[in-house]
């Protein structure tokens, strides 16, 4: 999942770095003003939890296994601001200890996994909760849908950044995007499944731990009940509009992921923008004329067929995720989670 150095061009790295720097700075600002001394250990614990949670392997095939990304899980428990900081720290420690993800691509990684995961995930979850309700079911359905959406939005954004990073003409980008999107839709289903089961488990066992809509961080001590959405925690009109906008943006990006293979005309448009802005010199790799000729020899029917296949896969994936969300929400009060918890417990 991590973007290594060298995949994106320096200009794109700088732009994404600036974006995520401001996002993280804003999160830190909100975090500082919203709560007292309790936040620091709580956020640190959440970051450590996501990091440790990524050590739990989920087998896919014989040698391949996946793991949690955790942005939506963190934001469901501690809210978007602390969640964003926690995810940023997870990415930083992964770079500093495992050299996972590049140093200059760190901004892009933060943007994809921390900002989209925490802010976008939170916005989408609240939007879904508005339709499904603030009940446990609403939280589970919302987190499942937002986990999937955040992965797809990150994939779409990556495609866009990748397209900006490399000179056009060398390869057919729509096919690369088709690969990328199909791959990420699988990752997204896995992430949605893990997040949904984990959150419904916590809701079963200790419902007071899950952050309700409007409260940014759990302020109260264990055993106290969280305030219902009242005067202190009720979102103002302005934040609700921003949230809806953010949710819309993430959902639009997720949908755009499936349209990206179609975007062959998009290539030309982007090229025009690039030449207008005079930023083509940032492309450091010289394009090779010999490979250039292959570009328009690509058989068109095959290309469009592939694009259609990806879109069908996308629609199927979306339906699967929504079905999953409803199933998990429905299965919530049943005792299955409690039964298997004995196995997982000490």
């Amino acid at each position: 999942m991590h973007i290594q150095d060298g995949v994106l061009s320096p200009a794109v790295c700088m732009a994404t770095g600036a974006l995520s720097l401001s996002a993280v700075a804003y999160s830190l600002h909100r975090l500082k003003e919203s709560v007292g001394d309790r936040t620091i250990p709580l956020t640190g614990m959440m970051a450590a939890l996501v990091f440790a949670g990524q050590m739990v392997n989920f087998p896919i095939g014989a040698p391949v296994s996946g793991h949690l990304l955790g942005g939506v899980l963190a934001t469901t428990v501690v809210g978007p601001w602390a969640g964003c900081i926690a995810m940023t720290l997870v990415l930083f420690v992964q770079w500093a200890l495992f050299s996972d993800g590049g140093l200059f691509a760190f901004g892009a990684n933060v943007l994809h996994m921390a900002v989209i995961g925490a802010w976008g995930g939170h916005a989408v979850r609240l939007l879904v909760q508005r339709f499904v309700g603030d009940s446990h079911k609403g939280i589970v359905v919302g987190s499942v849908v937002s986990a999937w959406c955040s992965v797809m939005a990150a994939a779409a954004l990556f495609c866009f950044e990748f397209r900006l990073s490399w000179p056009a003409g060398e390869i057919d980008f729509s096919k690369v995007f088709a690969w990328m999107v199909s791959f990420h839709s699988l990752i997204g289903v896995g992430e949605a499944l893990i997040t949904g089961v984990a959150i419904s488990f916590v809701l079963n066992q200790r419902p007071e731990l899950i952050c309700r809509a409007g409260t940014s961080v759990r302020l109260l001590h264990k055993g106290d009940l969280l305030p219902e959405t009242g005067k202190s925690s009720g979102p103002t009109v302005a934040t609700s509009i921003t949230r809806t906008l953010a949710a819309g943006l993430v959902i639009a990006l997720a949908i755009a992921a499936f349209l990206s293979p179609f975007a062959s005309s998009f290539d030309d448009g982007l090229e025009a923008v690039l030449s207008k802005l005079n930023i083509t010199e940032f492309n450091l790799t010289p394009s090779v004329p010999g490979l250039f000729e292959d570009y328009d020899k690509v058989p068109v029917p095959l290309a469009s067929w592939q694009a259609i296949a990806v879109s069908i896969a996308g629609i199927g994936g979306t339906l699967a995720v929504f079905g999953l969300a409803l199933l998990l929400g429905k299965a919530l009060p049943s005792g299955t989670a409690a039964m298997t918890s004995e196995v997982a417990g000490e």
């Binding site: 614990m45 088709a178 570009y295």
Partner: protein, 220 residues
């Protein structure tokens, strides 16, 4: 566990004795050079690779260790890089994938060097000198501490699960159990955060972090 993470971080070599900021700048310079050098300039890339090899040997990091880390690092990078030409029907994109593999490998080995010559507490001190927000650094420091605690917790839960399982669970059960283990870990972690917060309050925590400036110098 600390040995597993930055194994050679506490060695004493020429590189380890460099001032922390110098290490950081050397690493950043090497990564910048590796990501900006065009793939067609073979000698330049070779020079960068030699420089990276040189600092690695200066830090006395065993080659076998680097090779082992590369063995785990390469599969995802190759997957990403080779998807470019493969998606084009193997007709184009080879140069791009070569660029990605080359730059990725060079910057990865540089980052690996930095990790292994700079222990985490030194990195924290350096970041503080670079004037990152102190709240951010306090959370980072606590996270690093909690990591080992939660890893141990996870280990205990894994052992408990293995002890109680008498058959190999199916794929779906493995997923379900893994996710529920995560949920259980979440509950325990948050409870522990509560206890830690209480303990910090008992020791006079008022929401701001005080760093021991002297500690860093003593350790060196």
């Amino acid at each position: 566990m600390s040995d597993y993470l930055d194994r050679f971080g506490r060695d004493q070599s020429t590189c380890h004795r460099w001032p922390p900021l110098v290490k950081l700048y050397v690493a950043m310079g090497l990564i910048l050079a590796a990501t900006c050098a065009p793939i067609t300039h073979g000698p330049l890339l070779g020079l960068i690779a030699c420089a990276i090899f040189f600092v690695h040997s200066l830090a006395r990091i065993p080659l076998a260790f680097v090779a082992r880390r590369l063995f785990f690092f390469w599969p995802p990078l190759f997957l990403m890089a080779l998807s470019l030409p493969l998606s084009q029907g193997c007709r184009a994109g080879w140069l791009m994938s070569a660029t990605i593999i080359c730059r990725g490998t060079l910057s990865f080995t540089t980052a690996l060097w930095l990790v292994n010559v700079m222990p985490f507490d030194q990195l924290l001190a350096t970041l503080r000198r670079l004037r990152l927000p102190s709240v951010f650094l306090a959370i980072l420091a606590l996270m690093y501490r909690f990591l080992f605690v939660l890893w141990d917790e996870l280990d205990r839960m894994r052992t408990a699960r293995q002890v109680r399982l008498f058959r190999k669970p199916s794929l779906w059960e493995q997923w379900q159990q893994g996710a529920q283990m995560l949920g259980r870990l979440l509950i325990r972690a948050l409870d522990r955060a509560d206890r830690v917060h209480g303990a910090m309050m008992a020791r006079g925590w008022q929401g701001e972090t005080r760093w021991l400036e002297q500690r860093q110098k003593d350790q060196r």
